[in-house]
């Protein structure tokens, strides 16, 4: 199966809301072996000027990969998940993610490049919250490239 070249420029609107919980921040922090008190202790986070527990710098991957799933599971994309290799990743934080945030992610397919029998696909998730249910407040931009290996690669 080949990757659909028409994917480039496609976008997927923000679907579900991701509620950032304190226990999820603690669980994710433990999973990446983070020990900074701002991930675990609300008072320590507040002492640093944050509204609540601070998520680790790569926490947004949870939201970004859920957004990516829309593309990977899109029957029109032609992507075989078992042949996907993560090639690069970037997080740009417009502000820190804290417990209590309600995050939404809009996915953009910025690049599709044929490589051998496979393809390199670059996606960007714009992660934001809605103020008063209307106004977008940007929280993070994540970009990720995945290599979909062709047969025999």
């Amino acid at each position: 199966m080949t990757i659909n070249p028409d994917l480039q420029g496609r976008s997927y609107p923000a679907a579900e809301v991701y509620d950032v919980g304190r226990e999820k921040i603690r669980e994710f922090a433990r999973a990446v072996k983070a020990t900074h008190p701002a991930h675990f202790d609300v008072e320590a986070a507040k002492a640093l000027g944050h509204a609540d527990l601070v998520a680790p710098p790569t926490f947004a991957i949870i939201v970004a990969q859920r957004a990516d799933a829309q593309l990977i599971e899109d029957p029109e994309s032609g992507i075989d998940f078992s042949r996907v290799v993560h090639a690069d990743q970037r997080f740009t934080h417009h502000r820190a993610i804290v417990a209590g945030d309600q995050l939404r992610a809009e996915l953009h397919v910025d690049g599709v490049r044929a490589m051998g029998g496979g393809a390199m696909i670059t996606t960007r998730a714009e992660i934001f919250t809605l103020r008063d249910d209307l106004q977008r407040e940007p929280v993070a931009t994540t970009t990720s490239s995945i290599l979909v290996r062709g047969e025999g690669q």
Partner: protein, 147 residues
Amino acid sequence: MSLKFEDLAVGQEIGARSIDVTRQDLVKYAGASGDFNPIHWNEAFATGVDLPGVIAHGMFTMGSAVQLVSDWVDDPAAVVDYQTRFTKPVLVTDTTGTGEPGAVIEVVGVVGALDADAGTARIDLTVTFEGQKVLMKSQAVVKLTEQ
């Protein structure tokens, strides 16, 4: 304790850390992140897709390597940008029940660039496993608070 921008110099080492990784750590990361790709926990599946064995999530390595920076700057929210390329897999051997790590990742951080106008420092991370770099262009930009 807070870091002062003017005390930093390009080339200065911010610290180093060894990260022990076990198969259980990968299961924990799978659960915490929602990435359940079996190449990170099932030997037969991993070797069936031509990998040498179970490998760590690239995002586990990226996520654990940056803790050196979070702790150095003493505020994880100061990491305003963080990027990497994944170049080599970290093979994690099954040491279940022995108390031994299945892999050890080494991280060293160095001040790579300073931007006085933005008040930011770029920390370049060298992340290796068995002497080989597993991440390339692994860079975290930290915003230093005004003094």
